[in-house]
């Protein structure tokens, strides 16, 4: 670690000096342009990203139903909640979430299952589709269109389409397998042990197409001479892909990993369309929404759940940034 920083310091110092000299050379007009070009995005970033994020963290320590203003008094114990509004609540929201809020731990678990299915199933499936289509199998354009179709639909629409598949009494699946009666129908979307998996099939249906398109773009960018060289060296298709093509696609792999993590953490639409994210389909994003947007708003409590989601999503983001910066510093400034 220390050696890395040692090598970095002499390399970075002249670059910094050069940059400072460059700034001095700018005319007044250029400086205004630079200030505007940097300042406007910075302001937007502060206003729409950092302020809401920090405000959410602050709100998570209050009890507020969204009506009237906030104040800095501490919440009174043993007073009806209607009179205890806008007060400071300490870490009570977090405490309640992890102890007595029954939906919290299932939501965390479901978010992790969602992530695991996307990483272990949807992404490899998309990769497989991409490789098969890239090999130019017969009718590959048609397959490409079919697999890409769900990506173009909104998740809300996908939820509705699959309702027709899963519906207990009238759905396609139960009709085909002959279990659409009133007594022995499979309750795909109502059974809390089944519905998460049913919804994950819907999500995978779309995600695999998405990943496929990204991989196709990556595969097209791979230099064909590399493959020819591999074939000349006597590598079979399997070896060519894993030893030659896959390592070359490292940038696209990183992008897909990031997309996968983001998509699984922000999962919301499908479960909300299916049953408002209750009874087996709890997700943190849904709990945040149902507490903040409901008929009675528990803004403080919902914010606390939002902060939990933020902390969880910071983990993969930090890993990604750490990896990226480490590589850049290893490569040195160009």
């Amino acid at each position: 670690m220390s050696s890395a920083t040692d090598t970095q310091v002499p390399a970075a110092a002249p670059a910094k000096a050069r940059r400072r000299r460059g700034l001095r050379r700018l005319s007044g007009r250029d400086r205004v342009v630079v200030a505007l070009l940097l300042g406007i995005p910075l302001l937007l970033d502060l206003a729409f990203v950092w302020f809401p994020a920090l405000a959410t963290v602050f709100l998570s320590f209050t009890k507020w139903n969204g009506v009237g203003g906030l104040h800095t008094k501490t919440c009174l114990p043993n007073v009806p909640s209607i009179l205890n509004n806008g007060c400071l609540y300490g870490i009570q929201n977090y405490h309640q979430a992890v102890t007595i809020y029954p939906e919290f731990w299932p939501a965390v678990r479901h978010n992790l299952i969602w992530l695991a299915v996307f990483v272990l199933f949807a992404t490899p499936l998309g990769m497989l589709f991409a490789v098969l289509i890239d090999r130019g199998i017969k009718g590959s354009r048609m397959y490409q269109s079919i697999l890409f179709l769900p990506v173009m639909l909104s998740l809300a629409l996908i939820g509705i389409i699959w309702e027709f598949m899963y519906s207990q009494n009238l759905g396609l699946i139960n009709t085909v397998i002959g279990r659409n009666g009133n007594s022995n129908a499979i309750d795909w979307l109502g059974n809390p042990h089944l519905n998460l998996w049913a919804v994950l099939v819907e999500a995978t249906w779309r995600q695999a197409g998405y990943v496929m398109v990204l991989y196709l773009a990556g595969l097209k960018a791979v230099d064909p001479t590399l493959r020819e060289a591999a074939v000349v060296d006597g590598a079979n298709a399997w070896q060519t892909f894993w030893r030659v093509v896959f390592p070359v696609m490292r940038p696209i792999n990183v992008v897909i990993m990031v997309v996968t993590v983001i998509e699984s953490l922000r999962a919301f639409d499908l479960v909300y369309i299916t049953n408002k994210g209750i009874n087996g389909l709890e997700l943190l994003s849904v709990l945040v929404t149902s507490n903040i947007v409901g008929e009675t708003q528990r803004v403080g409590f919902g914010s606390a759940l939002g902060v939990v989601l933020l902390v969880i999503s910071l983990v993969p983001i930090c890993i990604f940034l750490f990896q990226t910066f480490r590589r850049e510093s290893r490569e040195g400034p160009s």
């Binding site: 909640s81 149902s290 009675t296």
Partner: protein
Amino acid sequence: MSDAGMSPSRRTLLRGLAGAAGISVAGGLLSACSSSGSGSGTPSSGSSTGSSGSSGTVGGTVSFGSNYSDPGVKAAFASLCTAATAATGAQIKINTVDHNTFQQDITAYLQGTPDDLFTWFAGYRMQYFAAQGLALPIDDVWAKIGGNFNSAAKQLSTGLDGHQYLVPIYNYPWVVFYNKSQFAAKGYTVPTTWDQFIALAKKMKSDGIIPFAFADKDGWPALGTFDILNMRINGYDYHIKLMKHEIPWTDPGVTQVFQHWAELMPYMQTGANGRIWQDAAKTLEAKQAGMLYQGTNQVAQQYVTDKANLADLDFFVYPEINPSYAQDYMDAPTDGFMISKKAKNVDAAKAILEYIGTGAAEADFLKTDQWDVGLAQGLSAPTYDAIQKKSVVEIGKCKAVAQFMDRDSDPAMATAMIAIIQKFIDDPSTGNIATLQKSAEAQAKTIYTS
């Protein structure tokens, strides 16, 4: 009391919360408040012309936020608004929002730029929003229309501070529906006691019929079953106290409710958590199911929408369980209209409410509506069908009517109970009942008292 009546201090609110425990108690307490409140208004001069002072009739446009999004009730509401325009001279612009979305967004809606008038529900749910200053008191409207309603209807329109905030239009009972032809063909008789009820369910099951159609995908329909079992077993006062969390959810009375429900579960349609109530109603229409416990507002309306045989539909009130309460109570939710605090055209809005609070307006609304019953006294609605006529009789027999769990309790608690009852439907075992009661109590503590 008179000085407290002017501004809703913490004490009056607390007293209101405690008083709302029972209608009879609350009536005595709050009538003192409301008399002082209406005394400050101007009952004789009439607000619609008095404050504007310019002309005899109200004018301009009033916007009306409506959650009457189902086709049938939407048409009935449109005709009511046309009649109100004719009676008052004010134009009405209706903004219809999907029923569930309307409820989800209500807090943001009322604090943003709400419509002048909006549709809402009576009971604690109205009181919750009124107590936070999001609704306009309409004591002056009630000074004029008060004679059209009985004290229970007025009570349902009164906030915790003793002022009126709502003009009711209709209510509808929650009862057990069945098809007359099916009962006649199979020789079933209407049960009046729990034992007969279970025996009938057993017989239906052996005949290859689902005894009870059942759906709870939306979460709220099954709350009604909890309400009625609780009122039959423990009575109305207990039920309302439980809704206000003056009785803990771990109370043995609640255990009894779940135990009775568990006894019914083998006869109820399976997979309820994945089925919407409309599909449950369809199994009743198709006579695959024998009975369905739900509101007339839903079932009868669904029969009309599906063009099913409404004349074949009939209902009976939930059978007696505890003889000391017999069949004295039921859920009969009341819907009505309120003025938002930020209303722009208050005079015209009040004039419209004054019109809606008359028997003539309700009768007009009920020309299109074949499932609800009006609340105005002495209302003559020649268009009532058999279901509506029977509804009036059965509601009239009740010693008290509840409003439905999500209207009688803090909305956050109703949300918590939706999850708990769905878990009960998944696993109605004794061990799970105890776990669920503990969970309900833990959540109630944070929602009501901390």
